[in-house]
């Protein structure tokens, strides 16, 4: 029975300062995400005074909502999650709020009518990434005819990177197609695009993987990636940087997944009831072809 719960509370909390954190990860849909998960898991450890309850949502909002509800039921100290999409969190956030558990948003924000729905947000700024890429194009290839290789349509990264990029150099985009963030589909899409939009001489791809697929397609069509067709990409995984070093990519905007330590600090502060900044933007770099092999080898993911 539950009657003894109160009685044994002290026994369970014997560690005293162990914080129970429920973390609902969005999924494992890309290398970036797995790196992010790794980082979170290695930072939020028992050694660090945190008891992590990790639930993978498999890219489904309903799974995530269920997980959040379950966190309430388990009465964790802090709830952290990377929302699958922005909308649709009203009910469960309200419930969390009613039960008095602080929320840390990771990676993406939410759009909700709940007052004061979360304590803090930490993550990258996809729109900014798109913007950075667009600014590079505006500066270095102002006349380029751009083909935009979109990620999975409707995903946050796709929507925001497109928004950021098109906001700067939208008039230069001659065509778009989705490669679902995967190499193989990126390749097929670019294969077709090169023949449909033969004037294309720059490709903006929403992630490195699709960009690597694009390299294949460009080479198969007898052109030289990085020269005949320039490639601007986002993510900065090791393979992407390698392509940059090999001269196949021209510019890579980083989207840094390794912010577990920052998250751990935030979670502890929140649990301790300390004042924390409303948002923490993880610093993203950008790489151009001056990147060296050493940078690549130093890359962890």
């Amino acid at each position: 029975g539950g009657g003894d719960a109160a009685g044994s509370e002290t026994a369970a909390g014997g560690g005293g300062d162990t914080i129970t954190v429920g973390f609902s990860q969005l999924g494992a849909e890309s290398g970036w995400r797995t790196a992010n998960t790794e980082s979170v898991k290695s930072a939020l450890t028992a050694a660090n005074g945190i008891d992590l309850k990790f639930v993978d949502a498999q890219q489904k909002q309903e799974n995530q909502i269920k997980a959040l509800r379950d966190f309430i039921t388990q009465d964790v100290d802090v709830i952290a999650f990377s929302p699958v999409i922005e909308t649709g969190w009203d009910e469960v956030l309200q419930e969390i709020k009613d039960s008095g558990i602080p929320v840390v948003l990771v990676d993406r924000t939410v759009d909700t009518s709940v007052q004061d729905p979360y304590a803090t947000w930490i993550g990258a700024d996809f729109e900014q990434e798109g913007k950075t890429a667009g600014e590079w194009v505006a500066k270095n290839a102002p006349d380029a005819k751009v083909f935009e290789l979109q990620g999975t349509l409707g995903s946050g990264a796709q929507v925001d990177r497109e928004k950021g990029f098109d906001g700067v150099v939208g008039q230069q985009v001659v065509g778009k197609a989705s490669g679902n963030f995967t190499r193989a589909e990126g390749k097929t899409a670019v294969e077709a695009a090169l023949q449909t939009y033969p004037e294309t001489n720059l490709i903006f791809t929403h992630n490195d993987d699709m960009g690597l697929g694009a390299v294949e397609a460009i080479e198969a069509a007898g052109k030289v990636p990085g020269k005949d067709v320039q490639i601007v990409s986002v993510d900065g995984v090791r393979d992407g940087l390698q392509a940059l070093v090999d001269g196949k990519f021209n510019y890579v905007v980083e989207c840094n997944p390794v912010f577990g330590d920052q998250l751990a600090t935030l979670v502890k502060d929140v649990a301790a009831g300390k004042e924390v900044p409303k948002e923490t933007i993880v610093q993203d770099q950008a790489f151009d072809q001056t990147t060296t092999q050493a940078d690549v080898d130093a890359r962890k993911y």
């Binding site: 999924g27 639930v55 909002q61 269920k66 922005e86 909308t87 039960s99 349509l153």
Partner: protein
């Protein structure tokens, strides 16, 4: 640590002499009910295991809250699975339901943005599902296209339309809709609070209605008859109207998908084009776990109710296990496997 206090789950192996009595009991139950009994037993076992394994000093695993959450989180799935049960019993399958849920959610959101009043939106939303179902039904019945393909086509169609409506997630902030979404009866205090909300009531209502239709009307019996195979030839020669019934089951399934779309929209208060990918498989899995045979004609819709709870419980257990993404998938597959095999053993023992 709370072992001694938790209610004893009937999971352990029963002592020898009573094995025979259990067997005798099993033998007395109508064979057709065995799979459902199996599902219920599994449900109880899982609850028992959960109680043993996941109860902490702070909270018991087994609680009203758990049960109410289970129903709350799976109300849309229950409605979908009930609709699917009709189709499966009639020897068909409906792969379109997940895509329909997405389409309905988006259209609902769009309609609210356009300022349509709540009742209109709700009715239109459900009707979209009905139309999709009707389309499948007509293809299956009139043009003799296999259900798998007809519903696959409608799945592509609905998904494509949803993509056309919007590739962004759309927020719903209609007051009436929000009120409906947040309405609930609360019971208990503090951490023990559990609730009954509109979605749960609707889902349970749909389930009861389905029990009535399937077991106490001619339409329902004809649905079972259609599942006898031979593409409904027997039912036709028996002087019933298979055409109507066959279209009927797809309309029901479509309508349920429409309703589930609304429930899902209530659940998330938004519409999104990527929702519901693979949801049809969840629904089918729940139906199968509930003891309905995919070949048609055998099963009970109440079993589907139990199936949804089992399926939901599997997810809760997984969530409590701190698994990596890949282990989660493997685990779901393994549980599904264990379940199907177990069911086979129970139901097939006397053959």
């Amino acid at each position: 640590m709370s072992t001694g206090l938790s209610p004893q789950a009937p999971s352990g192996a029963p002592p020898r002499p009573s094995t025979r009595r259990v067997r005798a009991l099993v033998d007395r139950v109508d064979r057709r009910f065995l799979p459902v009994v199996g599902t219920l037993v599994t449900l109880v076992v899982m609850l028992g295991v959960g109680q043993q394994r996941y109860s902490t000093a702070r909270s018991d695993f087994l609680s009203m809250r758990l049960l109410s959450n289970l129903l709350l989180d799976n109300s849309y799935l229950l409605v979908l699975a009930v609709g699917m049960t009709f189709v499966v019993l009639a020897g068909g399958i409906d792969l379109s339901v997940g895509a329909v849920v997405a389409l309905v959610g988006l259209v609902t959101a769009k309609l609210f943005t356009a300022g349509a009043p709540l009742p209109v939106v709700l009715v239109l939303g459900v009707l979209i599902g009905t139309c999709c179902g009707l389309l499948i039904g007509v293809m299956v019945q009139v043009f003799d296209i296999q259900p798998f393909i007809a519903s696959l086509a409608v799945m592509f169609l609905a998904r494509g339309l949803a993509n056309v409506v919007s590739t962004n997630s759309l927020k719903i902030d209609d007051d009436g809709f929000s009120a409906l979404a947040s309405w609930s009866l609360k019971f208990g205090e503090g951490r023990e609070t559990w609730r009954i909300n509109a979605s749960m009531l609707i889902a349970v209502g749909v389930l009861l209605l389905a029990v009535y239709v399937l077991h106490y009307t001619r339409f329902g019996r004809t649905v079972y008859g259609l599942g006898a195979g031979d593409r409904g030839a027997a039912v036709e020669l028996m002087g019933l109207r298979p055409a109507r019934t066959r279209i009927g089951v797809y309309v029901i399934s479509g309508t349920c998908a429409g309703l589930a779309g609304i429930l899902f929209a209530l659940y998330t208060k938004s519409g999104f084009n990527l929702t519901g990918i693979g949801m049809e498989l969840d629904a089918i899995a729940a139906v199968v776990i509930g003891g309905t045979l995919l070949s048609g004609g055998v099963g009970f819709v109440l079993g589907t109710g139990a199936g949804v709870l089992v399926y939901g419980l599997i997810q809760v257990l997984i969530a409590r296990e701190d698994l990596d993404s890949w282990w989660t998938r493997v685990f779901i597959g393994a549980v599904l496997l264990a379940f199907v095999v177990l069911q086979k053993v129970i139901a097939g023992r006397r053959r």
